[in-house]
Symmetry: C2
Subunit: 519 residues, 2 copies
Amino acid sequence: MSDWLVNTLGSDAPIRVGIDPFVHSASFAQALAKDLAARDHELVPLFGMENPVDMAWEGSALPRPGQPLAPIRLHPMEVAGKTTSDKVAEMREAMQDKGADALVVAMLDDVAWLYNIRGSDVEFNPVALSYAIVTMDTAILFMSEAKIPDDVRAELAAHKVEIRPYQNFIPYLQSLSQVGHKVWIDEERTNYAAAMAVDEENRVRGMNPVTLAKAIKNEAELNGMRAAHERDAAALIRFMSWMERTISDEGRTVTEVEVDEMLTGKFRKELDGFIEPSFPTIAGAGPNGAIIHYRADGPDCGIVGPGTILLLDSGGQYRDGTTDCTRTMVFGRDAEDLVPLEVRQTFTRVLQGNIRLDRSVFPEGTPGAVLDILAREELWRAGQDYAHGTGHGVGAALNVHEGPQSISPRFVNKQALLPGMVLSNEPGFYAPSMFGIRTENLLVVEQAEGLESKATGKKFLRFRKLTQVPICKALIVKEMLSPTEVEWLNTYHAQIFQRVSPLLDRTDREWLRVACEAL
Amino acid sequence: MSDWLVNTLGSDAPIRVGIDPFVHSASFAQALAKDLAARDHELVPLFGMENPVDMAWEGSALPRPGQPLAPIRLHPMEVAGKTTSDKVAEMREAMQDKGADALVVAMLDDVAWLYNIRGSDVEFNPVALSYAIVTMDTAILFMSEAKIPDDVRAELAAHKVEIRPYQNFIPYLQSLSQVGHKVWIDEERTNYAAAMAVDEENRVRGMNPVTLAKAIKNEAELNGMRAAHERDAAALIRFMSWMERTISDEGRTVTEVEVDEMLTGKFRKELDGFIEPSFPTIAGAGPNGAIIHYRADGPDCGIVGPGTILLLDSGGQYRDGTTDCTRTMVFGRDAEDLVPLEVRQTFTRVLQGNIRLDRSVFPEGTPGAVLDILAREELWRAGQDYAHGTGHGVGAALNVHEGPQSISPRFVNKQALLPGMVLSNEPGFYAPSMFGIRTENLLVVEQAEGLESKATGKKFLRFRKLTQVPICKALIVKEMLSPTEVEWLNTYHAQIFQRVSPLLDRTDREWLRVACEAL
């Protein structure tokens, strides 16, 4: 974007470029300012001056939407696993090590995690408009009073969290800087306006310690994630069983819109603790599966009948956890005979990539990028690839995308994978206008017990699966799998049946039993 | 080293640190100067002033060794594949694209490649003390006249290469800079003295185009490499066959020193076009195999008898190519029963790493670092690792280590692998005081025909083996190998028998036949 802007402006005359400093990160704005300055242009953050977007709203016939005022709720100890007091104390230790007197927390999920609160200001993400500042003797939540119910207020008070108006955040930061406080600002995760409020020489830079602490799930958070994943699996399994009955027994087709109506509107909605989807459901039938962020819409949407490849990427926000699962599937009697061999071969290669990454064991200190090739190796051998990353971090009853870890083919993210981190494992393949395939599980990083390299002194890590949803056997070309891969699938399916079948009625349990029979 | 120096010097008082600018790269010296300056110290390149090493020689009773004067030889067209004129013309194109008027070539193997000459000034490396400078109308070789035989002189003259005294290099560079020439200096691959001879504003930076051109072998170079590898394989196979006869039939042991005497002094020496080893042979018996750069020495060296694990890493410089091969092996009747299972399991995992890297297919643009994990995956699963890189570049009848490509677990080297590059594939494992294992082949990068990703538009690359030496089957635990891995081994062994058996007598051919029988 910086390149585009510089090229578009040319260099005939110096130009002033205005930005709203509240909607860009400090690191982005600073890099842009530097690039513009190199061509004699100037970046002007519209801070304390008129902003053309505000001016347009003033002249508009429509009323401008106000800040959302949805009430927040407590995220209770049994799923948070750590009190706000303990979290704040840990952050103060990190601040001391770093030589900072104050810590700015500007990411909404970081604030929610730190203070054990959840909100509903942003669709799909259980967060609330807010900032936090932690100093050595105060912990402040900047949020509209109107959003805070009494029980939350009492709990925050018990952990010595002060509540101040949302709009006081910037002036408060300025005052900290004016008295010479060293303020820790993660410039990648803080807007430019907040960074500007602190003098350059008073800024302490580096990754926000909340971001890393949030990524490393504690045992209570993992228990919540496991429970949420089992219930979520029951919803997906009930959906699949219903699809099979509808298509094979009733002999009718199902629209993509109906897929989401049943999955979200019925099966997930009936689950304990379900709040909302964790992102808009992607239900792509046939060629629609090849559109990476497809969203089915209205009467023209695709139709699933016997032999139609359905790519279904969906997830739920629950009181105790967040899920994200993709399965590619086919329904109908003798469905495997209805699917072209090329599609099944590709499905099998994607599955092999998923298995290879899932089974990997790697030394501590390894960034996710190192593992990315494992998910692609068999696709590459066939001249296939996918133009997206292999894995993203996932929050515990928080945002379905979170950092700092990832599994990406670009070696930009050097964050080592650490025990307790949750990541998606989602290789895919997309043949435009034909079909799309993705198989996605969520994994937790854990110590691989008993392994330690004598050569390097390093211990080893591995993954454990959270997702408990069967993989469509009709799409597998068994001869392509190694015995180890077949065993992986059979062990996984046996585990799924054991853990999820108690949550199902007899019909759905029978469907799951067949789905989980050994390959 | 920079860190060590800065810490050792402390910061109580500014200190002047002298270095010989001819023995450090410009990039290293410049980084060191910056680090020292940050603590108020100063780097002083001893350029045109007294150097304490020179002064010590002046006061020494021993005469200082002179510059080596070994004669150089031509590297003929049938193995070079491209004339000096053509190479120089290509460099001028690169200079034009880069906006440079002159190109400095300071790496000895780069000079040798550019002018199709070979020398013997440096043991194991067929290079000669020299520099080169190419301008738009001249191509100069800076070298002592005494080293250049008449035939080489005539050939260089035919390609319009001027010869100037070695010591004129720096003054010539200074004169280019003084008349304002833009001089391309690869600061990673040029000594500090040469960089200092060119004013900062006249330096054009970036990788030397000779380095990349040299790394991408042409068809004649590859033919030479293939032929050299087949002959070299015959020497190794004759050696292995002799070892088996000596240990099993004669019932005696063999010392590590004797291993090299036979391998280098007899079997390689008898080969067409053999010049010298490409590095000091590593022959480690039993626990000595765990010492990564082990060199057997004198009467205390290790002994190979029935069931002893021998790690043998060796290579040759030939007129037409350079080889580098490691095999780990065991001799004696029923040898596999003499080796602990743990050793054979580890050998098998190392072999699986070698196979996995060998079989990989990857999109163009992939740096070697991305592939490194393939060689370690099975070792990691068992908590094992090796503390060295997986692959280095290899010259064609040139240095056995060359850049810019590598296969390393550290993601520093971003050089994409390109068709025609030669790399080693050498995973290993070392159990201190017990045993060492390494299996090393040289590979050529080539296009994977017919593969192109629709998602990314990229073509794919793969490897082809140069090395034609059997892998010791007695050390393989067959049940650990997948059918694909068994097939890889059998196909490789069949190829070896077909290509190398014509170079062997009946006895050795029979040994090879058994060694290459299907697993």
